[in-house]
């Protein structure tokens, strides 16, 4: 790597570290730590939401997906984010914000009892810790191949920096470092797309050169079994996406730290606007790869993005893109560590272990550090099949969790029996559908329908709760 690129990366790391340390000094109470003192403006939350959702692997994988499938890859951003962010921003987030809760399991606990709260809290803490490990390991492999960095140097550099500002500064530090990371990610990605389009001879030249199917958003299962439009619309759009944008602690927690109810709402809607732009930075380069890379037919999709960086960008600008990779990794790790710490402190330490509220700040900081340490320890064990199994297990909870959230907010008669029935029936359906090799987008839809049946049946059958209401 050229020394100018190294200098750009060092500059980015120094800026992130400086902002993180400055915000650490402003943390005095547990509310400062978990919710940034409820002072966050909408634009900072929106940028943080977007960059936390884009990991280093998604940058490479998203571009590779567009190289293989074309613009249909943008469905993950458009159908997979925009509608759910509008619904979340208008209906769910303002309610959560007004209730003053700090975690999603906390809300579900108030509606469906402590058992539902505890089950979901334990599942989420384990998943978030394991995910930190997988992010670190997979990204280290990527950095070794692209930058030639030593694997453990990358892991220790990222965890060292992230630990300092996440453990010290909590959500405020996470969000404002994410703002820097989001800016770098957009600048780098859009720069690559614009330079690529110029190099390819303009938009018309590209559309004439790539296969027609690469320029269609909705495809039938016969045209592309990876992107059946029924799965995209109903599985991704109606279930997985709302479950992520309304039920994922790493997402919801930022909005709970908003300065006002309007900021909480606007953060989701402004985030949706940014999400509309994201495919320009990561999908367009993937399609350009077909035109610009010689011998593209035989190239592995994940090699497209690094190859375009080497081919199109001069020294210095390459450093910006490499800094964007680091930014994407750091924003994911800091968000997940902070969210796991919040769930552990609010939903496990205090209600299950009888912890004292006045120790919440210390416990939260230790739990952030513990999550990163858990990720470091689990990472080498979780490569390949084990993590996929773990992620599949989490996906079994997505449909039922969304059902609990919707019923919890919209249906006053939903009760504890309904909540447990929804969880049990939804998970059982997901397991059976997965067993029969149903496409994962359809598994989400079926488990959601089953959970809804369980919710209605259980709530109506529990006459005692009905009378008490």
């Amino acid at each position: 790597m050229h020394w100018i690129d190294t200098l750009v990366i060092a500059g980015y790391l120094a800026l992130t570290f400086g902002v993180g340390i400055y915000l650490t000094m402003r943390v005095k109470t547990s509310e400062d730590f978990f919710l940034a003192g409820r002072r966050l403006p909408f634009w900072a939350i929106a940028m943080s939401l977007v960059v936390s959702d884009i990991g280093a692997l998604e940058m490479i994988g998203g571009t590779g997906g567009a190289f293989r499938h074309g613009i249909a890859q943008a469905n993950y951003e458009w159908i997979g984010c925009v509608p759910a962010m509008i619904v979340g921003g208008i209906l769910f987030i303002p309610l959560f914000w007004k209730l003053g809760i700090q975690s999603v399991p906390e809300f579900l606990g108030t509606r469906f009892g402590s058992l539902v709260r505890s089950i979901l809290a334990i599942v989420w803490v384990l998943f978030l810790g394991a995910a930190v490990g997988v992010f670190l390991q997979a990204a280290a492999t990527m950095f070794t191949s692209i930058l030639g960095w030593d694997r453990w140097f990358t892991i220790l550099l990222v965890t060292g920096l992230v630990s300092i500002y996440t453990v010290g500064g909590g959500l405020g530090a996470v969000v404002f470092t994410d703002v820097i990371q989001c800016a770098i990610l957009f600048i780098g990605g859009l720069l690559l797309a614009v330079l690529g389009l110029i190099e390819a001879g303009g938009l018309r030249a590209v559309t004439e050169a790539v296969p027609a199917q690469h320029l269609r958003l909705l495809l039938s299962a016969e045209e592309n079994p990876d992107f059946p439009w029924t799965g995209v619309l109903f599985g991704l759009g109606l279930v997985l996406s709302p479950a992520y944008w309304i039920g994922n602690q790493a997402i919801v927690q930022r909005t709970l730290g908003a300065a006002s109810e309007w900021d909480a709402k606007a953060s989701m809607v402004f985030g949706a606007i940014l999400k509309t732009i994201v495919p320009l930075a990561f999908v367009v380069p993937g399609i350009l790869g077909l035109v610009l890379i010689t011998g593209a037919e035989s190239m592995a999709p994940d090699e497209v993005y690094p190859q375009l960086i080497r081919q199109l960008l001069p020294v210095g600008l390459r450093g910006v893109l490499y800094a964007a990779f680091l930014a994407a990794l750091m924003s994911s790790v800091d968000s997940y560590a902070n969210s796991a710490a919040t769930i552990f402190t609010r939903d496990i330490y205090q209600p299950l272990l009888g912890g004292r509220p006045d120790r919440a700040l210390v416990v939260g900081r230790l739990a952030s550090l513990g999550t990163i340490a858990l990720g470091l320890a689990l990472g080498p064990l979780l490569e390949g099949d084990i993590y996929e199994t773990f992620q599949t297990l989490l996906s079994f909870f997505q449909g039922p969790t969304l059902d609990l959230l919707i019923a919890g907010v919209l249906w006053p008669r939903a009760n504890r029996t309904g909540g447990m029935s929804a969880l049990a029936l939804g998970i059982a359906t997901a397991i059976i559908a997965h067993w029969f090799d149903v496409h994962f987008l359809h598994v989400a839809l079926f488990s959601m329908i089953a959970a809804s049946i369980g919710m209605v049946g259980g709530s109506l059958a529990d006459s005692e709760s009905r009378r008490s209401q």
Binding site: P83, G89, L215, R216, L217, L218, W262, A266, I273
Partner: protein, 53 residues
């Protein structure tokens, strides 16, 4: 099923979402802070994209 059916269903869904969001949000703020403008622009862009491609 044809992807055209998907585009039609998606459009109906987006229009329903827009009408619901405009009604629910109401006139909470004025000027650029009125979220109804943001949501209308977002839905219009989405419809344009899905009918274009």
């Amino acid at each position: 099923m044809s992807p055209l059916v998907g585009t039609v269903l998606l459009s109906c869904g987006y229009i329903a979402l827009l009408l619901w969001a405009l009604r629910t949000e109401g006139r909470a703020r004025s000027g650029w802070r009125d979220l109804r403008w943001w949501i209308t622009a977002l839905v219009a862009i989405q419809l344009l994209l899905y009918w274009w491609f």
